[in-house]
Symmetry: C2
Subunit: 90 residues, 2 copies
DNA sequence: AAAGTAATTAGAAAATCTTCTAAATAGGTT
DNA sequence: AACCTATTTAGAAGATTTTCTAATTACTTT
């Protein structure tokens, strides 16, 4: 079930997590592939992925012993709508 | 001078600060008027306002011994553009 | 100038977040 | 089954954030 707005904004507030989302813009990547872009342990990447997942910003698919993550653009859209309303667009 | 994207996202990550922005949607309000909407001390509200100000999400105008805060929608627009790009809109 | 009102700053406590190491889980391969 | 590879979980350390109380600044009014 969809998590709160609050948690989505929190998920977006960390630079590592935003960079992960940008990486996923092109195509789904495994946790390991994502991790290789950062100078951090896999455990830390896993922690960030879990927050993105709880915020529904990404989906995961398990294939063999890999876990692939994919961007969920519909939640991005929700945040944009909130911002759009704030801006005063009718 | 305009603060980093990172700081703008951080500023948006707190529910109190988002509620302040919504309050300012209608019209500018003084720090005291903003504070009266929350069950928090004026010092705490002042802290949140300083973060919104540093993120350039609000402007302040001093009138008598009041400080009025006003929403700055152009920064909201910047965040929307980032999200729009993430979504994949060309 | 003294007193009052609005708001901010300083400093500290409590809560939350980020990161690590080490251990555990899960699946694939020999 | 034993071993290897990918990923997650647990637990702890360190950093950052949020909030408060008390003190300070700034401007107004008497």
């Amino acid at each position: 079930m969809r998590m709160s707005f609050a948690e989505t904004f929190k998920a977006l507030s960390d630079p590592v997590r935003r960079e992960i989302l940008v990486l996923l813009k092109g195509a789904p990547l495994s946790a390991g592939e994502i991790g290789s872009h950062f100078d951090m342990t896999g455990a830390t990447i896993s922690y960030h992925l879990s927050i993105l997942k709880k915020a529904d910003l990404v989906w995961e698919t398990k294939v063999k012993n890999y876990v692939y993550y994919e961007l969920n653009t519909s939640v991005v859209e929700e945040i944009m709508l909130w911002l759009s309303d704030l801006k005063g667009d009718k």
